[in-house]
Symmetry: C2
Subunit: 394 residues, 2 copies
């Protein structure tokens, strides 16, 4: 059979980058390319106790069909938490539980973006999001990221020019991959520009709870009086990514359409995993656990930054992140960035070439992304020393 | 904000039917409109033991990110099971685990159907599938269902005419809503026609294990030498719908594209729930449990059919299903079908008006769908007696 695939899926080609990543997936490679939480960051005992209790007390609810909007008690719990802690959500808003935050991106695109409509994104940005926009044949337009977030002059120019702009995608906290946090002033300005041009903002905040230093900056959604911000939050980085529980808070009209979209995608997110999250939030020490994983990641971040300075100090530049999972290192202009990644891989250290995060293959970047949450402390030390030697070859 | 939604989501309008269903969702209504497994059909003790064991022995695997293709041991277990029991799967095929069988439909459409391409479906068919096709702006073309399955003359005419046909959607066993099982001859003919016209078959088999009487008919996928059948199977009806674990077996090229599609949808299906299914299949009495739920549903089916005959025998006609969850009853031509459903709802019995399962709102049907798995035996008796009285008003 000579398969004729859809245009949308044909636009998602496996890339040269994936081949580099594949070559570095062997067991003896130090994983600076990953984005997994540290194994010690999972509240294993809590999950054990909670799950046993749910299956003892209320097994049929956990195993029967649920509703597409999500497990009602969890929706209430998260709504209350987000309102009290971050002032996110209003009377005009509603919430649905999704199968990971990837599904928020998928549903937002499904309900808002026609083929050839424009999605504006920080450039570089999360490859998973970019691929979802591509899968709907949205046209990506990138906006540069400064050390305090998206460049607002460039954003305004893009908004002036692109009449079919439907969505502005941003990761305001510890952005993936740049590690940058958007300033309060820029969040305000972004909101005003979106309002002026009638474009919806998708505020993707998977790392928000992973702040290691500095002051919390209010969510864009917290100043949303017009219903133009879709907020996306996730339990992947604080509880478990494997259970795939995330949520979105947005205006009721948007949520109603996203619910119809979810019905056609996977009907509903598993009930058992939603019940686990609800029980954890209500009756276990979630806040204590968040403080614990902040400590874990703060130590790993400091360890890696110290080693970047000592091993690569004269070679790379970077903005030290205040949280999250990633450090974005710029190599000298004279260095072939892809070659650097290949040689690192040959020496058993996996880093992601920055081009993976750009809108288009022809975009230019001298950066590589390093992750500090997945490798062990020993792995960080060994890996950075290897990169220090790889540097000598350039 | 005046939201501008995408064309694809705007084509999914809430219908008058949903309003009828909403009116019948109150607690005191007898649920002949549902499609939920009976609560007594869940292997609760097994799930309790298995889950405790997984979280004791291998919690990090259960909580960490998984791969988009699915939990590798489960993929092997299902492949072996499907090959041995149903001769489904070949060396050219591969398997991915999905978030419910709804996601198989979503991914197949995503990778094969461009906007305005044609999806051929049994008419009537599963509303969830039809809505997914609509959500990709596929054009639905219905083929009548005879008492032995899809009408093959009509299918051939459609294939001759529709040059943009990309997918033939069928539920060959105990079809939803008609309850009909496609004969072996028609399966062979369907396969030959699909091959001749170069169109992929999506064989959706969620009810296959729920046979109450008659002989097993081979899966279409079991005769697929050309790689033109996408097979979809599910654990929703034999283990639990709430855990959302299903799978698809198809040619490697198709599976590779569907995996890329899944990456952009929800990254992967939760690992914990996949591990539960794997453990259940390997070390618990799944076959014994399937026999048990067949007994449960056989009794309920016989009870409801007996009552249809005694209470509505001179009023409705139906093909007695050999399994599944639904009975499709045709009302006399003189009766206003929607009115019948409304009056039933007023009398606290929920049935689904057949129009919900048709391709287009202007299609004609005199049928209503009754479900026998969700109501209690007492509910079936009371509900059918009420319908017997409702009948007198027409």
């Amino acid at each position: 059979m000579d398969y004729k695939f859809s245009d949308r899926i044909s636009s998602l080609k496996p890339s040269a980058i994936r081949e580099i990543l594949k070559a570095t997936s062997a067991g003896d490679v130090i994983p600076f390319a990953a984005g997994n939480p540290a194994p010690e960051a999972f509240p294993v005992d809590d999950v054990r106790k909670i799950t046993a209790e749910i299956l003892e007390k209320d097994p049929i609810t956990a195993l029967q069909y649920g509703i597409s909007e999500g497990y009602t008690p969890l929706r209430s719990t998260i709504s209350k938490y987000m309102k009290e802690k971050y002032n996110v959500g209003s009377e005009d808003d509603d919430i649905i539980i999704t199968s990971g935050a990837q599904q928020v991106i998928d549903l937002a695109t499904k309900v808002l973006v026609n083929e050839d409509d424009v999605v504006i994104s920080e450039s570089p940005s999360f490859i998973g999001a970019l691929n979802t926009y591509r899968s709907y044949k949205g046209r990506l337009v990138g906006v540069d990221v400064d050390s305090d977030g998206m460049n607002m002059e460039m954003l305004e120019e893009v908004l002036k020019k692109e009449k079919r702009a439907k969505l502005i995608y941003t990761i305001p906290n510890f952005q993936n991959p740049s590690g940058v946090t958007m300033s309060r002033e820029k969040r305000q300005r972004l909101y005003e520009l979106a309002k002026e041009y009638g474009v919806i903002i998708l505020e993707d905040n998977p790392y928000g709870e992973l702040r290691c230093s500095g002051e919390n900056v209010p969510c864009i959604k917290s100043i949303d009086t017009e219903g133009i911000v879709i907020y996306s939050g996730s339990f992947s980085k604080i509880l478990s990514p494997g259970i795939r529980v995330a949520f979105t808070i947005a205006n009721k009209e948007l949520i109603a359409k996203m619910t119809v979209g979810k019905q056609a995608s996977d009907v509903h997110t598993p009930v058992l995993t939603q019940m686990i999250v609800n029980e954890w939030m209500n009756n276990y020490d979630m806040e204590g656990h968040i403080l614990k994983i902040r400590d874990i990641y703060r130590k790993k971040l400091e360890l890696m930054c110290g080693l970047i300075d000592s091993e690569l100090g004269d070679f790379v530049t970077y903005v030290k992140p205040e949280g999250g999972l990633f450090i974005w290192c710029k190599l000298p202009d004279s260095v072939n960035m892809l070659k650097f990644c290949s040689v690192a891989a040959e020496n058993k250290v996996a880093v992601v070439p920055g081009i993976a995060f750009m809108m288009y293959p022809e975009d230019k970047t001298q950066c590589v992304r390093l992750n500090f949450s997945t490798p062990t402390d020993d792995g960080i030390v060994r890996g950075m020393k290897i990169l220090g030697k790889v540097k000598e070859m350039f």
